[in-house]
Amino acid sequence: MGPILRMLLRNRVRTGLLVAEIAVTLAIVLNCLSVLLEQHRELTRPTGIDEANLVAVEMLPWDAAYRDEATRLSIMRADLAAVRALPGVVGASAMSPFPLQGGGSSTQVKALGASDETKVRAPVYAADDRVVSTLGLELVAGRDFTPQDTPVESGPAIFNVIVTQALADALFPDGQALGGRIDSGSEDFPDVIVGIVKQMHTPYGGGPMEDRILIYPQPQGSASRMTYLVRTEPGQLAALLPVIEDTIRAADDRRIVTAKPLLEYKARGYSLNAFLAGLLSAIIALLLGVTALGIFGMTSYSVTQRTREIGTRRALGADRSDVVVQFLVEGSIVTLAGTGLGLVGAFALNLALMSHMDATALSPGLALAGVALLWAVGLAATAVPAVKASRLQPVLATRTV
């Protein structure tokens, strides 16, 4: 150890450069990994619905007949009946917006008679009967929507609603949410909770994932856009896409009909997360490559400079493995010094980035993994020149003495 340390200290500048390079590398890699993990958590968060088997159908009607709500409702019910009759279809319901589509709206609600301070913001969906079974939501209490829940005429009315457990808990902390009445702006027309589902999220894919959700039985959509969700048997989705489109077009051709897997909407909603994850992965890979190259270059140079020293050691009885070990120990000392300094830098950079990137605080486990990763890269980059050094013939090496 003594001689190795003295050697490293004698080549202060070179050692210092490597230590600094490894330190900055670790600081960057740890912070990139931290953001990367955060993106990965976003991308893999459970949505509470059977997303892989769901088809989203979007209809853009151009005929003036669609301006009448009752007409829309009857067209919609006929469409859904035809789609449900298709082999391979498990269920179908109208829903607007639908989960993961992006966009949407929210409302402020409180328990009827509660004070204004207890108001909660809740993203809103509007859906038709069988919405719970179509989406594959887990019903905790109460029931799914039936066709009778949908009022035929629009306007002020008392609605039966389905809420998530999170919203139920927020509005009724005593646990008596089922049958509870909600004030969403008008005390004369409170909504009644008829069903509670375990988990569901906002329609804004990739956005803030709120889970206090309110579903109204108002599926008619607007005169310019209607949307259905269709759940298929596993493996049947791709084959059913054109069949669903044709079935709906056959009923009425005065509209643009597109059926797409729900996962396509999800991918679009999360595309920026996925993009950022890809970019960070590329940066990490390039950075480790550059640093490995640097360590490799410096060790190679060191080997050529110390040919005589190595030859002398070999001549005095050190075997090949002793030489390899010497270089690996040297390399490890430099790497560990670098990573020690790098950890300090990583936390400093993390503080700066937290205000810039919504980065989360670094975890000690991740820091440890980063140190191990860099140590492994350092060892690998040192190993090649070290083995080359050990192959030097003692005779050749000492010839110039």
Partner: protein, 444 residues
């Protein structure tokens, strides 16, 4: 002499081909990464209309609910857009040189050809001044008049792609297009027009393509024409006070319009006061329950208010610059190793009469050569990576070709290369010229 120095430098670079290659590639990657990230940031941060950004103003008035916090703005700011009735009210001022509302709607286009199915187009709802205020270039014809706005004239301006699709790119001014239920007369066709960021509509379409068709604002509210409003909306108040949804849009506290004015530099203060007096009048009518909180905001400040530059992008630029630091340290080590390994040759140079300055400048020339090569290759790599990134970006959220800013990227790469070359080359060159000739000669 300069040529001679360069020739010697080139010979020295070639003498150690692998080391030189590693040095150039390492530096090129080190320059390409921050150049790419800085270019991406520039796309969001640049001034989209440099010659008018100081005279165009976004106007906001605070009509919000005093008991609820507004969503999606910075603390203390008024709502991000205004209500229809306030747009109508603010239009009353004659102080601005130009004034326009900005909103979006969808509408069906029915092509003349029976073989082409109807399709849905995005319409920009705006006023006559929109085209002159935002320097919109026309290929054929022009915008409509303020009188057309008042008359609710059924006129339309097509963007280039729509004109291509409907009329094969011909001059279509004077011809008609069926939008929704009625025929519209074409008054103008845009030339290529793509402000980035799209400052006048950062809320709904900051990075997307401009809309397909442009129609007088009021037409978007005539439901029987077949337009449906699109875009972000915020509202408060009881919906049951209104006869129907359109009544709520027109008379309610229903915010959905970005409102813009063009002011002469001397008129800004006067206009601010005018806006305040407008709101005070409305207060006397029972609206605007909150204290006066209005904003007349110039373009660049408005982009800042809306956080146009994503936080992540700024974070990535920091990471990219640190990446370059790593590559510089790397290069520094390589050059140092190379120069010191050639101490013998340098010793001979010095012994034969080369001054320290000569050795120093000779080494520096070599660093410069590597720096320039790294910069050129780096700019090339950055241009490739911008293309790859641009191709992988989700269409629909970002318009095609947004990231192709080669000129800017090249400039950034050159600046970074010079800085990196100097940072990594100076110390090794200095060490090289400090070589003591006598000792080197004796050892060898």
């Amino acid at each position: 002499m300069v040529l001679y120095t360069l020739r010697l430098a080139w010979r020295s670079v070639r003498a150690t081909p692998w080391l030189s290659l590693v040095a150039v590639v390492g530096l090129a990657v080190g320059i390409a990464v921050p150049t790419t990230l800085i270019s991406i940031r520039y796309v969001f941060a640049r001034n989209p209309i440099p010659d008018k950004s100081d005279v165009l103003f976004n106007v906001r008035v605070d009509n919000w609910d005093p008991t609820a916090q507004f969503f999606d703005i910075k603390p203390g700011d008024p709502p991000k857009h205004i209500a229809y009735r306030d747009m109508v009210g603010l239009m009353e001022s004659d102080l601005p040189v130009g004034k326009t509302g900005v909103a979006s709607a969808t509408v069906f286009v029915f092509p003349d050809l029976p073989s082409v199915r109807p399709y849905q187009a995005m319409a920009r709802l705006c006023h006559a001044d929109f085209f002159s205020m935002f320097e919109v270039p026309f290929r054929y014809g022009g915008g409509w008049s303020r009188q057309d706005d008042r008359d609710h004239a059924r006129v339309v301006v097509l963007n280039r792609d729509t004109n291509e699709r409907l009329f094969g790119g011909e001059d279509s001014v004077g011809r008609t297009v069926r939008l929704g239920e009625h025929d519209f007369s074409v008054v103008g066709v845009l030339d290529t027009f793509r402000p980035l960021p799209q400052y006048y509509d950062v809320i709904n379409n900051a990075m997307g393509d401009p809309r397909d068709v442009f129609v007088p604002f009021e037409l978007g509210l005539e439901e029987e024409l077949g337009f449906s409003l699109r875009g972000d909306t915020d509202s408060w108040g009881s919906y049951s006070d209104y006869a129907n949804p359109m009544d709520f849009v027109k008379r309610g506290e229903f915010n959905w319009i970005q409102y813009w004015v063009e002011l002469k530099p001397g008129d800004v203060e006067a206009y601010r006061q005018w806006v305040d007096s407008y709101v005070l009048t409305q207060k006397s009518l029972g609206r605007f329950p909150k204290p006066l909180n209005n904003r007349v905001t110039p373009v660049m400040e408005w982009l800042d208010v809306r956080d146009m530059v994503p936080k992540q992008v700024t974070g990535l630029v920091i990471i990219g610059l640190l990446f370059l630091v790593v590559c510089c340290l790397n290069l520094l080590g390589l050059l140092l190793a190379k120069f010191l390994a050639r101490s013998g040759v340098l010793g001979v140079h010095r012994a034969l009469g080369a001054s320290r300055a000569a050795v120093f400048s000779q080494r520096l020339a070599e660093c410069l050569l590597i720096g320039v090569a790294g910069g050129v290759v780096g700019a090339f790599l950055a241009s490739i990576s911008l293309r790859v990134i641009n191709a992988t970006l989700p269409t629909g959220r970002v318009a095609a070709g947004v990231l192709l800013v080669d000129g800017y990227a090249l400039a950034v790469a050159i600046v970074l290369a010079v800085l990196a070359g100097a940072a990594a080359g100076l110390y090794p060159a200095w060490r090289a010229c400090r070589v003591a000739p006598a000792i080197q000669l004796k050892i060898n």
